[in-house]
Each structure stands twice: as C-alpha cells, then as structure tokens.
C-alpha cells in the first residue's frame, strides 16, 4: 500500500447556500504528479484554497501526509511541508528577485523570526538562494524588483518561491496560464525538474501539459470529482468526454 501525500475525505465547502465543493474524496499518492482538470468554475482553485488552509472546509477532513490539517492556518500547513503557488502572480513586488527567493526559504532553514543574525552572513541561505535562482534561470534578473519583471518571468519566480522552502508537497495553480508556446515548454521542463522526487498537484488547462506531465489525473466538474486515474483511463472515460473533453473538442 502506497501512502498518501494529500487525502480529502468528504470535503464540503459552501458559501451561503451554494456548495462549491461537494463531498470530494481525493487521494494524491506520495511522489506522483497529479493533475486536477475541469471546466472553468468547477472549484479547482477553491480546492487548492482548502488544502493550503486559505479557507476552511464546511465539512469533511483534509489530511497531509496522514495528519489532519483541515482547520490549521496556512503557515502551519506550510511548515508541515506543503507549498502552493497562485493563479495570479503573488510575489513581493517591491523586493528584488533575490530577496523574494530568500524570504521564501528563511523559515525552512530555521531562521524564523531571528532579529539577532545578520542575514548576509547566513551561508546556507545564501547558497540555497543562489541555487534556486540558477534553477529557475533568473540569475541575470537577480537585483530587479519583482514587480518590474516580465509576465513569464514573474510566473517563473512564483514557482521559485513555491519550491524554495523545500516543501515535499507542491501545489501549482495554472503555472503556465498566459504563457506563449515556447514559454510554456520551458516552464513545463522546469516544473518537471524541480518536482523530481516530490509530490505535485497541478491545476492546468493546457491538455498537452496535463497529458505530458501527469502520472494521474482527476477531473473536477461542478465541485465533484467525476473521474480519477491514469491519463489513458481518464481519456477513455465517457463521463469525462461528455463533461469536459468533448466539450472542448466540439
């Protein structure tokens, strides 16, 4: 039996009378790349918000590495090894690229709220920041304020911030949205490389990205998971064809 990285049990999320997520059960196995697809408004980002602690479920339980995390604050969940990115770039706009990455790994390197250490003397922080900057190919933009980066660069920085802390469960919310073909290919290669040996749950609209990257796929339609399986299984599933893929083909 493989252990799960993320497990949702009967998760319900309602805003007033409207249920956005309706009793979802979902298991993401450790070290797999799992894609979450579904039409607009299906509740994919809401599901991410629930898993990462941004909002609390109305009912049901969410487990991270077999521990209940529903009800915890985002930073508590992050400290347990889950990190997420955002659909709209959510960086630190007035800080340089270097500072952005560095802030993203301070907690993970154990420096917490330290106000007695000189940050420039922290060798490990320095080296890890440099390594990640090189990994995401933004070395030449090191001193540029993040708010002045080009769109695709900001998206890349967003991924960099997400993986910087070394979390072993990564949630990416449409990392390639709005990118050109070439940029998307580079981003996918980057994601593949950076999530090696980690668990990835990714929301993606681009089907070539989904089928190229994912080990397993879950389809969310109107707040319910209607199918979950390998890319082949999902592609062959008539319900999925009807609800989602067919719609797009038509």
């Amino acid at each position: 039996m493989t252990s799960s990285a993320i497990e949702l049990r009967g998760v319900l999320k309602s805003f007033g009378n409207t249920s956005v997520i309706r009793y979802v059960n979902l298991t993401v196995v450790k070290c797999e790349r799992h894609a979450l697809i579904g039409p607009n408004g299906a509740g994919k980002t809401t599901l991410f918000n629930l898993i990462s602690g941004y909002t609390k479920p109305t009912a049901g339980r969410i487990l991270l590495k077999d521990e209940i995390v529903s009800g915890l604050r985002p930073y508590q969940i992050n400290r347990r090894g889950l990190s997420r990115s955002f659909q709209v770039s959510n960086v630190f706009p007035n800080m340089s690229v270097w500072e952005n990455i560095r802030c993203a790994l301070l907690w993970a390197t154990g420096h917490r709220y330290a106000f007695w250490k000189n940050i420039d003397n922290l060798t490990e922080v320095h080296e890890r920041t440099a390594q990640i900057l090189q990994d995401i190919n933004l070395v030449s933009r090191r001193d540029v304020p993040a708010g002045l980066l080009a769109y695709a660069e900001q998206r890349t920085l967003e991924i960099g911030i997400t993986i910087a802390g070394g979390a072993d469960v990564i949630l990416l919310d449409e990392p390639t949205a709005g990118m050109s073909r070439a940029e998307t290919e580079r981003a996918v290669a980057l994601i593949r490389r950076l999530t090696e040996g980690r668990t990835l749950l990714i929301i993606e609209h681009d089907m070539s990205v989904v089928f190229g990257l994912a080990d397993r796929i879950s389809v969310l339609v109107y707040g319910q998971i209607i199918a979950s399986g390998t890319p082949e299984e999902v592609r062959g599933n008539p319900k999925v064809k009807e609800a989602y893929l067919g719609e797009e083909a038509a």
Binding site: N90, M95, H111, Y113, N118, V144, I161
Partner: protein, 433 residues
C-alpha cells in the same frame, strides 16, 4: 560550480563595500562629535538635540510604516509614555539616591515604550492597513485623554518635571549644560540608528518587508504575519520610548502634548517627507522637518499652512519623499542618461519658482488681512516688505501665479517626456535601481 559561485558573489567587491560601509558609520560618528564646534550657540545645540530625538522617533515610526507597511496614527503614545516614565524614574532615582547615571536613564523610556507596545500591540497588529490605522488612532486618543484624567501619574495640563542634574554624575559631567545633553542625545541617536539599521539586515527585518509587500503570500512561506507585525510594533515602541526619554531629559518635563495626536502626526509627516522606502529617509525627514518647523515659525505667521501645503505637495508629486525623489535618479546616473533630465529640470525651475513665489505672496496678503485686519497694511514675510493693501501687489501676485502656471505647465510636460526617455534608456542598459 563556477557558475554558481558567480551567482553567489556580490556584484561589487565585498571588501571595498565593507570598507565603505564601516567608513560611512565612522564618518557619521565623527560628524556628531564635531557638530557642536560648528554650531556652538546654546540655541543651535538645543536644535541639534531636538533633531537627534526626532531622528530616533522618525526611524522608530518607519519600522512600522516603511518596513512593515503599518500606517499608525498613534505612535506618540509610546514616545510620550516613555517620556513620562523617564521623568518619574529620574525623580525616583534622585529621591532614593540610587546609583544610576543619566546616560542609562533613556533605557527606562525604551522599556516603558516596549512594555506598552507589547500590551496595546497584540490586537491591532492582527490586521494591517485601514483596520490597524483606525485602532492606532483610537488607542492614541484613549491614552491622550487618559493623560489629562489620571492626574497623579501624568500631572494634568501642567505635566510633571524633574531635575536631571540631581543624578549620579559621570566623571565631572552633571548634565546641566546643553552641550552635555547634546552629547548624550548624540550618543543615543548613534546607538539607536545603528541598532535600527542592523534590524533591517536580519531575517526578521527582511520578513517585515515581505509582510509590507504581500502579507498573504508570507503565510504560504511559513510565517505568521501577525507575529511579524507584533514584533515590529514592539521594536517601534521601544525606540519611540527612547526618543521620548531623551526629549524628557532635554526639557526636564513631560506633558500631555508628548503623546497627543499632534505629535503622532508630526512623526508621520517627518517620516513620509523624508521617504519611507529607504532607511535613511526618515533621518533626512526628521532633520528637515525639525529645522523647517523652527525656521518657518520665525519668518511667517501662517507657518502651519505652509507645512501642510508642503506635505500635500510631497504626497501628490513625490510619494517616495525626498529620498525617493533622489533615488529615482539612481538608474539614470548609473546609465549616464541624467543630463537631458537635468536640463529639463533647470528650464522648468524658473516658471515653477515664479508660480510658488506668487502663491506665497497671495497667501501672505490674505493672512495680513485676516490676522491683522484694520492695522497697518505694511508687512514683512520671508524678509520681504510689502503693502498688503496696494492693488499693485494683488495684481503682481495674480500675474506671478497665472503666468508662472501657464509656462510651468508646458515645461512639466517636457520634464515628463525627458524623464520617460531617460528611464527607458537606463532600463535598456539593465539599470533598474
């Protein structure tokens, strides 16, 4: 690996950077020691002492506003309580003959500021922006009005006083003469500036910036923004308390004005005018505003109006303050594209100054008629004599304002254009900051 070490290496040579860094601090210390030899009159020593405390106070305010993104309307609470505690402390020390010399007394103010910041800070720092600003305003009013009610501690309208010379002397210094107070203030100012600068270079200091930029994202890299805001609030309270203590020592009195809304707004304006985005900004702001308030009140009766107009102008035209305005030119200087901008500035300067002169004249004429109605219309403002009743002076003011504006308006557009071109050229060369 060689590639990686290249990334890790600082852009400039580390040792020369370090030398320059420590050199500038040593130069600052020497300048503080030398200042009384340049400005030796009693009045200027008092001004310098006021500037010193104002620097500490403004920098402490900027821990909130510039570093962590918290707009406080009640920062004088911690400054004032620090001042009151210091007066009580001095009386207690002198009364019981405790072996505590005056140079250690500012710590009483600092710890008092810290104590009350820790008590009052936990709730408002749960929120940022508007909610925080409103709660800080409420707390400020609460404490300011308590200070008039709780007479035994605050001494009512008159305040409370102490004698700073009754404490243990340090060698042959009893801190009676203003020069000794100047050195006491200079010492603490230097210490506090170094400490607050060091704070910005720590993991905590950097996370304060992150909270300022994007408190939401901070939660997803493992930090609780509330804790960061709270700690920042405590630090700000501590240094504000030290500033309040030094003011109390300087005047040997503490009264309700120390912790009122006026004091809270002056520190806000000083930090903002100096520029909150750079560490040095509030220092420049404190020097500038302290000096401006003293100088303006000498040359014109309506100095508050000018100060208000000046503040509005800064907010509207250069939200980065004086430092922000200067630092905006850094990429242009580095890329060598500053020249055309400077030329445009020089051209725009003449009509703009003309317009401002007309505006000042108009204000002074009106002020003369409002404040001294029925008296001799011959008056003097900014060292210039004029007859406020003469129609010619009215015409002159109108001509300067309108003529200045019409010409200046065109030159501003030219400045804008020159600026945009120079900035684009600088960015193309890779200079962003």
């Amino acid at each position: 690996m060689s590639e990686l070490s290249k990334v890790a290496a600082a852009p400039r040579s580390v040792s020369s950077k370090k030398r320059r860094f420590y050199g500038s601090w040593i130069a600052t210390a020497l300048a503080l020691l030398a200042l009384p030899y340049i400005f030796s009159s009693g009045g200027s020593l008092t001004t310098l002492s006021l500037i010193g405390t104002s620097i500490i106070f403004s920098l402490s305010y900027n821990i909130l506003l510039g570093q962590t993104g918290m707009l406080s309307f009640g920062h004088a609470v911690y400054y004032g309580l620090g001042g009151f505690a210091t007066i009580h402390g001095m009386n207690l020390i002198a009364g019981s003959k405790l072996p505590v010399p005056l140079p250690l007394v500012p710590l009483i103010g600092g710890l008092t500021g810290l104590f009350f910041a820790a008590i009052f800070g936990w709730v408002p720092t749960r929120r940022s922006r508007t909610a925080f600003a409103m709660i800080s305003l409420g707390l400020g009013e609460l404490v300011a009005s308590s200070s008039l009610i709780l007479r035994s501690f605050f001494g009512g309208e008159a305040g409370i006083s102490a004698n700073r010379t009754k404490l243990l002397p340090v060698f042959d210094w009893n801190f009676g003469p203003q020069i000794q107070i100047y050195y006491l203030v200079a010492f603490w100012t230097f210490l506090a500036v170094v400490a607050m600068y060091a704070l910005t270079r720590t993991p905590f200091g950097r996370m304060c910036n992150a909270v300022r930029d994007n408190p939401e994202r901070v939660q997803f890299v493992g930090y609780d923004p509330h804790v960061i805001r709270f700690l920042a609030f405590c630090f700000a309270g501590f240094f504000a308390g030290i500033a309040g203590a030094l003011t109390a020592i300087n005047f040997e009195i503490a009264n309700a004005a120390y912790l009122g809304a006026m004091q809270s707004s002056v520190v806000l304006m000083a930090a903002y005018i100096g520029g909150v985005r750079f560490f040095i900004g509030p220092i420049i702001g404190a020097i500038f505003v302290t000096y401006l308030l003293l100088a303006l009140s000498d040359v014109t009766a309506v100095w508050q109006l000018y100060f208000g107009l000046f503040f509005i102008a800064v907010v509207m035209f250069t939200p980065g303050g004086i430092t922000g305005l200067l630092m905006k030119h850094r990429p242009l200087v580095r890329a060598g594209t500053l020249f055309t901008v400077l030329r445009a500035y020089l051209v725009a300067l003449v009509p703009t100054l003309t317009m401002i002169a007309g505006l000042i004249l108009a204000i002074e004429i009106v002020a003369q008629h409002m404040l001294n109605a029925g008296e001799d219309p011959h008056t003097k403002a900014f060292g210039v004599h004029f007859n406020a009743a003469s129609p010619l002076i009215w015409l002159l003011a109108a001509a300067l304002v309108i003529g200045g504006f019409v010409v200046a308006h065109r030159t501003w557009r030219w400045v804008e254009k020159a600026w945009d071109e120079a900035l684009i050229a600088a960015r193309e060369k890779g200079f962003y900051t």
